[in-house]
Each structure stands twice: as structure tokens, then as C-alpha cells.
Amino acid sequence: METCDKYSLYIGLNDKDTLEQMMPTKRFIKIISKICKSQNIGFSIKSMNGGYIHNSGIYTFENSIELSIFGVTKEQIMTLAKKLKKIFNQESIIVIKEKVETSFV
């Protein structure tokens, strides 16, 4: 087993201004996939449901995406996260970093 960094990005799909999802989840997934490919980042993606409290205090239920990425630099992840935040018009994207043990079989 080897130790490496795992990053998870949690991305809500509702627009921060309209509080609505502006396109189908499938399209979000395709866009994220293309951006990861163009930045040469391997990834796994999972679609799920979530709740989020906006800065204004409004609570919304929304579809979310969890993006899991291994073995990249913190700088690559932050650039990616900030790009996704900008183009999906999000208030924030949660980035989680964990040390994990991995083995390729």
C-alpha cells in the first residue's frame, strides 16, 4: 500500500443567484469531465443530493456532485476548484484533503 493525497470536491448544482439548477446534472458531469481531461487530471465522479445554507441564510436542497481526485498537487486542485466555482456560479465549493492508503491491483 502507498500513501497519497485524496482530494474530494463537493459541488452544489444550484446557481447562487437564481437558487435553481440551470442545466441537467448529466451536462454538469460532461463539462467537469472535459475540464478534468483538458487539465490532465484523472477523476471519479458521483452524483448525490444535498442541502446548503447560502450567505443570505436561505436553505436550499440541491443536487450535488462529489469529484474524487488522487495524486495531484494542491495548486492544481485549487485552480480547478476555483474554475468550477466561477463557471457554475457557486458561492463556494468544498475541498477536502485526506491522506489515504492506495494500491493498484
Binding site: K30, K34, S38, T79, I87, N89
Partner: protein, 271 residues
Amino acid sequence: MASIYNEDLYLNGNKGSLIEFELMRKTRNDILALELIGYKNTIENYDFFIEEAAKLIKSLNLDSSLAISLAISYLIKNGYFTYNKEFTEDETTTELLNREGISIIAGEGCCRNFSDIQMSIMNRLDYKTKKFYCYHQTTFLASPKNEEANHVLNLIEYKGNLYGIDIYNYNLLYRFANKFSLVSISKLTNDKLRYKPYCEMIRENTSMKEIFDNLNLFESCKNRPFIYSQDYEKIQFEINKKLEKENDRFDAFHERTKKLKKEIYNDIKGK
């Protein structure tokens, strides 16, 4: 087995390939639209920078698309377009599909970033140029027909012929050997660049009719006289000499646009 990238298929109307390309184009167009909103100010700043760079190049009184391309290459590689004057030729993480040249400002970039910034500046100066998406073939063992595009450079007009100029790779100059292939004007290399129309169709929204027009144009170029390698070397030497004398002017440009470049850098790096 033939791949969807095989031009024998899609140029003859193969539905599987065309449907796949349409899906790729749709996702690309989605990203383009989202970037235009999310990066509105960054894109405006970049366009302003391009205008400034075009003015700088115009002030050099260069008389051909070839000389201008060499000047753009010189300015990039010497860091004048980069916020901190350092430049690394590499795959980039800071790209915007709307303005692929923007990575150059952040100090990094590969062929598509070079080709994009070159095209933007040349268009601003009213010089015709066009991106040539291709498969860079260095061996003759495999058929390039099935391969994905792996390179892009710009086509420029120079003295009645069309050339590919690769400002990312040592300013290599290519001429058309047939409607699909560019070959180096130098006899020292056997590299071939195989046109990949599908990539242009997806990335530039080029129609099938325009692709066939391109192929006819490229075919017509193969019999036109072309520049000899030694003459091109002489041009490069003279232009470089001229550019080196202008370093003070370039330094002043770098200083003048520093704040703008830093803003662009911070935006795309997400600082």
C-alpha cells in the same frame, strides 16, 4: 479497427462519428458559454492586452505575416507577454476555452496556447491566419488516419503560398505536400503533420462544406513555389537581429502591461 477520428469515415458521412463529434461540440459550447459569464472581466482584460500587443508589433514595421509570427514567438519566449517574465513550455492548467492564449500570460503554455495568441494578434493586425489541427507524425509505422489530433499550429500566407508556422516548436515552417499533409521545408526532418478536420469541426464550429473547401485549397497549394530552407533561415536571423535591438521597447511594454497581466494571472489561477 477504424476509429471515429478516421477521416475516411466522417468525411463520407459516417453517422457514428458525426454524432460523437456533435456531442463533443455541445459540451465544448456549454463550457464556452459558462466561461463568458464567469470570466467576463478576465476576457475583457485579455482582449485589451491583445490590442496592446498588436500595437507594439505594428510599431515594429514588420512587413509580412512570417515576420510578425516570428516576432510573436520572440516576445512569448522571452517572457514579455508573461506577468513575471518567466515562461515554461508545458501543458497548462490555466486555460480558458474562449481564449486559449490566456495561459501565456500566466507563464505557461503548449501548442494550442501559442497558436491561439498568435491568431488573436494577427487577426487584430488584419493578417489572415487559421489554425491547423493535426496529428504530428514522427514515424511511418502507424497510419495517422485513426489517430486523434495531437498538435495545432497556424497557417499563414506568405508570398503567394500557404505555410504552417509552428511558433511553439522552434518556428519550424511547413508547406503542403498534399491536401492532408504539411511537410517541413527543411530536408533535415521527415516530420509530417496530418490534417485532422474533425478537431477543427468541433473546436472552430467549421462546417463540412468549409472542410472540403480547405482540402481543395491545401491541394492547390502543393504545386505553388515555396521558400527554401536557407532563405527562411536568413529571414529568421535578420528578424531576430532586429528584435534584439528593440529590447528596451519590449521592456517598456512589459512594465506598462504588468498590472493588467497580474490581474489576468490572478483571475485564472484563482488567487
